[in-house]
Amino acid sequence: MTDLDLSRVWLIDPVAGREGPGELVVRDGVLEAFTWLEGSDAHGVDDLGVIVAPGFIDLHAHLREPGNEDAETVATGLAAAAHGGFTTVCAMPNTTPTLDEPGVLAAIHTAAAASGSPVELLAWGAVTVGRAGHTLAALGELADAGVVGFSDDGAPVRSATILRNALAYSAPLGLPVVDHPEDPTQTEGAEANDGFVATVLGLRGWPAAAEESAVARDLAILGEVCRDVPGVRLHLTHLSTAGSLDLVRRAKSAGLPVTCDVTPHHLALTDEWIAGARRFAWDAGLDGPWHDDAIETTPFHPSLRVNPPLRTSTDALACLAAVADATADAIATDHAPHTEVDKAVEFGLAANGISGIETALGLVLAAVDAGHLTLARAVAALTVGPAAVLGGRTRRAGTVGLVEGRPADLVVFDRSDRWTVRSDALASKGKNSPLIGIELGGRVLVTMAAGKVAYEAPPD
């Protein structure tokens, strides 16, 4: 099926900044026409039903290939992306071997081609050789080979001097450096957000200050480097605390070339889930789940172990506010699939990470339903926001919106069609989702990438 006829649906074009009732036609994979409906034709079409948006762009996913193919492969990762409505995925370089030289990039591009998936695979190269933090990776060669920027994600760029040099060196390459902000001296052995829940459960705390001091360090360095070197760009990924977002907000208003993203799980979930609560961040208070009877299930579920950790409702609401006011440029999934062997263990021994690319839309829509984001802003943070971080380095450069005459790259989802997250409903090999058994809205009906069907919901 490379034809699609959608009449009387809700269209969202984040490039034009417009949304409303419309019709859309795809013929032979090409977006032949899309039309806004006016007046009586538009009557009865609202944004609670079938919605069409440009395909989503994920700045942050772990596809585990090469080296950890039992957790995920490029093929299963791209299938999961398509199921989640994503048509462009940026893979993180913390594979084995590390993506710190062009050969590894070629290998994953070969795997993507072999998968037959039309989803666009992009990749970050490592900042340092082996992500060990000591010497710069071959940044220029990686840029020539097509990486979209550099990151040692999984760990911060430990040395401030290396970060400074990486920012400066990558500026003329036109690429950003992506940092995972964490001061490791504050997080040794950390298991959960340093707060009330961790205190009660006896988990080692991961303080907000460990992230915020790293963000402050990065911004201070950026402030100096950008005075001397034109074109420097810093992107901070998976920010999780109110304080971090405040720092970025101030840096942006001071004109620093910084962008950032937040994850769906930090928008919607809190550390209360580790205690056994199962309510979204905006429904949680500050008193903790024990005193208001919010405990629904057993505590310590290893699927909730993630880095940075799930924070408090105050932090989650700050993340939502940051998406709303565009302090956060993008919502990125930090999709981190793991095998059962690595996850079905004691909480403190479980691998960090949530398999999240297929539940991202559902969590974001839950926040929209609760009134914490507009639909348009949520879609922008999944499309034009990340596209701007990538600059021109996607095949959709300049065409992230719904553009007539171009190969269709879009997602069709039904906001009111709820689905239950089950292991066998996830295309990812990583079944490590804390949302297993939970119902989410916005079931994806069709994902088209580069004019081809990447995902189509099975008939009921």
Partner: protein, 343 residues
Amino acid sequence: MTDVIDGRAEAAELAVPSVDVAPGTQPVGWRHRHLLDVDGLSIADLDLVMRTADAMREVLARPIAKVPALRGRNVTILFYEASTRTRVSFEVAAKNLSAEVVNIAASTSSVTKGESLVDTVRTVEALGAQMLVMRHSVSGAPYLAAEVFGGSVLNGGDGWHAHPTQALLDLYTMRSRLGSVEGRKVVILGDVLHSRVARSNIWTLTAAGADLWLCGPPTLLRGFEAWAGRGAAAGRRFHVTSSIDQALRDADVVMALRIQKERMASGLLPSLREYAARYGLTASRLAHAKPGALVMHPGPMNEGVEIAPDVAAGAQSVITDQVTNGVAIRMALLYLLAGVSPT
């Protein structure tokens, strides 16, 4: 000490469960299959455990301290952390109830190469375990075991999280001596941050109406002020202080916690010498508490560090009571859980 006798007598008047019964008889009023934490125990649950422990104390006073309640049951004791007193206490308790006891000392060091906890639990179950007593260095580990184990899991201490039988034996010891802990000033002194004993005692003592005080240097109380604040908001009497004078003034019970040498390496304390000087429970400090205030310690003690030897062995010390009561409490819990455990 008349109040002690009265307290015991009052408890005994309530329906003391009969333990001189055939195996398989159901205790009335207990509904928990596992004992993983104490946060889910109601006041009625606490009372039932205490009354059952009273009955077990009577058994322990007999010439032959043995009843057939758990005859034919397999109680497997799986300890991932070194322990002598808790393991032996569980073993004695299970044997007093005529259970078959299997002891396994396991190692967490081989988690990546060796057998996972889930596999180990499935293996011990296949070998006949019906009740699993478990100690583990990672907080929450018994919840994972309970997910896969077909019988009952008793948490014998997990990481910093919980030590339910210790908190219950502590409450039992206090009630035995004081009658009730309602309104009594109870001080937990020392390394609260790393203490599962402190965390479990917070739940049980505040639920039972004690006026609870946590005391230690701020580095070892990190995060507990927030817990105390929320507890107070919920009507519980719960305070945190680094002033040992304020904590000990008119206290009814002082429980000292073990200080481990690792705390110096991680920069939480300058030295054991300095800790002993500032927070050690000495006779002169104890004099600020109420006359006859109880001195407790969950063991093992570092005498001369968190507690002076003369205080540990003094007239106010109930530390050996804690050990004896520990057997009674563990007998009570094994008995209660066996009643709801699938066989």
